[in-house]
């Protein structure tokens, strides 16, 4: 297949997955807010960190309030917003219509129009939740449709690769923020405050929910929700489809469909070793953030190698 087309398909999948994740994060934050007592100040700023948009947010807003974040991540004209990511996903879909199933294009197109029309109303919490749910559903439908109709050729391999890398990337960001604590008490000085006990469980529960992982965690871990097990589950559980290691393994498995895959294969193996070798309990005491940074650097190296190997027109 053409390099240019491969690149667009890969990005289309990444954008769609990122849209879904952004919608999940926003909706989980809204529900987390309802679970917490008024005196805890919810750290909306964490969403800025998870989405890696600190600078872009700072140029638009002074404070990280719910309304500002909702606007920023849903409708603003910036790379991080659901609207503009969908517009890019649609543009990539529009320019790869010759290889993608027609029905999938129509879904992406409809989702784009729906979001454009619903975005302005989404500052109201109830309307926002309805909209986010529909976005999540639609993304799932689109990927389901691709899975159900595309031959397992190079095109579909790039769909899966884009989605897997995006998922692995997002889950590590979420773990990072969970560990940094989503909350801050006003006026306690420079030392990071200990999170109030009864709510720590709620925090980690919501981290799980943001990845639709709560139910599977309960079934497979079978322990009370706690930071250590949640981090281990989201990073190292081979069977959970949003866990970092599961997605890296997915990439390893599908690479055989592509030519010249040696370099990417090596980098994926390296990232897998790094994810699996860590002792989560120790990291939670100290160094989790640095550790996550290292993983992120490895993901970026995989992405660069993918681009170099298959997308650059020079060949």
């Amino acid at each position: 297949m053409l390099s240019r087309v491969a690149e667009r398909i890969y990005w289309q999948a990444r954008y769609l997955e990122r849209v879904e994740n952004t919608a999940r994060l926003l909706s989980v934050f809204s529900s987390l807010l309802l679970d917490l007592p008024g005196r805890t100040k919810l750290g909306w700023r964490a969403l800025v960190r998870i989405t890696g948009t600190t600078e872009s947010f700072a140029t638009r807003y002074n404070i990280a309030t719910e309304i500002n974040l909702a606007q920023f991540l849903i409708s603003d004209d910036c790379d991080a917003s659901i609207c503009s990511m969908l517009s890019m996903a649609r543009e990539n879909a529009r320019t790869t219509r010759e290889v993608m199933p027609t029905e999938a294009f129509e879904r992406i197109n409809n989702l784009y129009y729906y979001t454009q029309s619903a975005a302005d109303g989404a500052v109201v919490r109830s309307a926002r939740n309805e909209m986010l749910e529909r976005i999540i559903e639609s993304c799932q439908q689109i990927f389901g449709m691709l899975a159900g109709t595309m031959s397992r050729d190079a095109s579909y391999t790039f769909v899966r690769m884009g989605r897997a890398l995006e998922r692995a990337d997002m889950v590590t960001r979420i773990v990072d923020v969970g560990a940094r604590k989503l909350f801050s008490h006003p006026g306690k000085g420079a030392v990071a405050p200990r999170f109030p006990e009864p709510y720590e469980g709620i925090l980690w529960m919501n981290v799980l929910r943001s990845q639709s992982a709560y139910q599977m965690y309960r079934q497979h871990v079978r322990r009370r929700v706690n930071g250590e097990d949640v981090v281990r589950f989201l990073l190292q559980d081979e069977e959970f489809p949003r866990a970092a290691i599961h997605n890296l393994t997915t990439i390893s498995k599908i690479l055989s469909k592509l030519p010249n895959n040696a370099e990417v294969d090596d980098l994926v193996d390296e990232a897998k070793r790094h994810v699996m070798q860590s002792q989560v309990a120790d990291l939670l005491e100290d160094g989790l953030t640095e550790y996550i940074d290292e993983i992120q650097i490895k993901f970026a190296a995989i992405h660069d190698a993918v681009t170099r190997t298959w997308f650059l027109p020079g060949n």
Binding site: M1, E98, N109
Partner: protein
């Protein structure tokens, strides 16, 4: 009851739906009766459903306006246009005949030039044409066919006879809209199909692919066929992508291709792979900066030489546009006689050639009655509609004709036939033309019907989508 054929009045024009107010034509009777049975609410719902379907399906075209590209949804009218099958069969044979003669002519121009020696046409008219490519002299494409895909515009006159308005032999577009119009109608108005046997149009992409594959220089089971597009900002990008998808062919841009050792390759994820046939949707002048316009960023350096060497086939062949010229058009009936020894089945619109002194005098003296067209423009640009033009516009055209008589052609204003569209009030008559598509290689294929373009503005003759025209599904129906 919203639509009432009693009060639908096309005046003096030939209307394809009714013979006279209240009396639908025999093949349209069931359609007319069904439409009459719908109330306002039904019709509004159908209209809305069609708009939604077009938006969802992403059927769009791009308009250039004030330097910006705007992707617009395709303007579409719900009432199908009905053409009786026996009448279409004659038209189909006429189109096939016409394109065969045109291909003989193009091949002759670039090879033996018998048509000049036998004084059928003055060589100057051809050799000085902006569409003549001296680089193509002596080349013999497979089957001696140059124009593989042709879109011929037909109109019906006051008596309802089909006539040829022009032949588009360069990069004719519109076929994807013909196919999508049928899909939209099936989606929102399936009831219409119950009482009719309608010739299907869906095989076109398959026919197109088979024709293209038959041009492959390498004899192999799966020739690599690609569609070459100028890119997403081109007004017909939707169609390029649509046809590639329906054929299962790659859609490539110039930068995806590279020529090495006079062979064309595409840049794939695994390296380079050879291309056999290119359905190019880029004008000649932009195909290859090494041979034509050296500024072109759209084309592929070395492509022309690869074609000359016979290592890749181009459809349509470079230079085919020499017959896509409104002056050459006037000679097509002569070509049919000369090359095929047959009588033309489809008539031309009577035309006055401005390079001929007598005919030019006639045009200049009758500018208020005639339509004046430039020889090489498409899309309805640069025309003078005499009866509607102002005195100063007519003076301007008189000056242009005297400056460059070769480039102009006068034709009487033909009263185009009308068909009903679903207007805001009820059914309203509007003028239409028809663009069937003709494929030609070893065999030929003609689409049943074609793309009907309709002037949505009352009384207007301008059907081009870039200038406010719309379209309709077109049915060739049995009895």
């Amino acid at each position: 009851m919203q639509i009432d054929w009693q009060s639908y009045n096309p005046g003096d024009f030939h209307d394809e739906m009714i013979e006279r107010p209240g009396a639908p034509r025999p093949t349209a009777q069931r359609l007319a009766a069904y439409l009459e049975s719908l109330d306002r609410k039904d019709l509004d719902e159908k209209k809305l459903a069609a708009q939604l379907a077009i938006k969802t399906m992403g059927i769009s075209f791009t308009v250039y306006s004030d330097g910006e590209n705007i992707d617009r949804e395709w303007p579409f009218d719900l009432i199908p246009r009905v053409i009786p099958a026996p009448e279409w069969e004659v038209t189909r044979r006429g189109l096939d005949q016409r394109v065969r003669a045109l291909n003989c002519f193009i091949h002759d121009v670039y090879n033996d030039q018998k048509v000049f020696k036998d004084k059928i046409i003055d060589p100057e008219l051809i050799l000085d044409s902006v569409n003549f490519r001296p680089q193509c002299l002596g080349i013999k494409p497979r089957y001696n066919v140059w124009a593989h895909i042709c879109g011929t515009d037909l109109i019906r006159d006051e008596q309802g006879r089909f006539m040829v308005l022009e032949d588009n032999l360069r990069v004719p577009s519109g076929v994807s809209y013909m196919l999508e119009n049928r899909r939209v109608i099936k989606r929102v108005f399936p009831e219409l199909f119950e009482n009719y046997d309608i010739q299907p149009v869906t095989e076109y992409p398959q026919e197109l692919f088979d024709m293209l594959a038959s041009l492959s220089p390498r004899r192999q089971a799966f020739p690599e066929v690609v569609v070459l597009t100028p890119g997403i900002y081109n007004s017909a990008y939707f169609e390029h992508s649509y046809l590639a998808q329906r054929m299962g062919a790659e859609l490539v841009e110039g930068s995806d291709l590279v020529v090495e050792n006079d062979r064309v390759y595409m840049r794939n994820i695994g390296g380079l792979s050879q291309v056999d046939v290119i359905y190019r949707r880029i004008d000649d002048m932009f195909l290859d900066p090494a041979v034509f316009n050296s500024e072109s960023m759209l084309g592929v350096p070395g492509l022309f030489q690869a074609w000359v060497k016979g290592n890749v086939s181009l459809a349509n062949a470079p230079g085919a546009g020499v017959a896509d010229d409104k002056v050459v058009y006037t000679y097509v009936p002569d070509f049919i006689k000369y090359y095929l020894d047959e009588d033309p089945i489809l008539p031309n619109v009577p035309s006055y050639r401005c390079f001929n002194d007598k005919e030019r005098q006639h045009v200049l003296a009758n500018l208020d009655k005639l339509v004046v067209k430039p020889a090489n423009e498409s899309g309805g640009y640069g025309m003078l509609m005499g009866p509607q033009a102002s005195a100063s516009e007519r003076e301007e055209f008189a000056r242009r004709i005297k400056d460059n008589p070769r480039n102009y052609l006068g034709q009487p204003l033909i009263s185009l036939s009308t068909v009903p569209i679903l207007g805001n009030r009820a059914a309203e008559p509007r003028h239409v033309d028809l663009r069937p598509f003709i494929l030609q290689a070893a065999d030929s294929y003609v689409t049943p019907g074609g793309l009907t373009r309709v002037a949505l503005v009352e009384g207007s003759y301008i059907v081009n989508s870039s200038q406010g025209g719309g379209s309709k599904d077109t049915w060739v129906v049995m009895g």
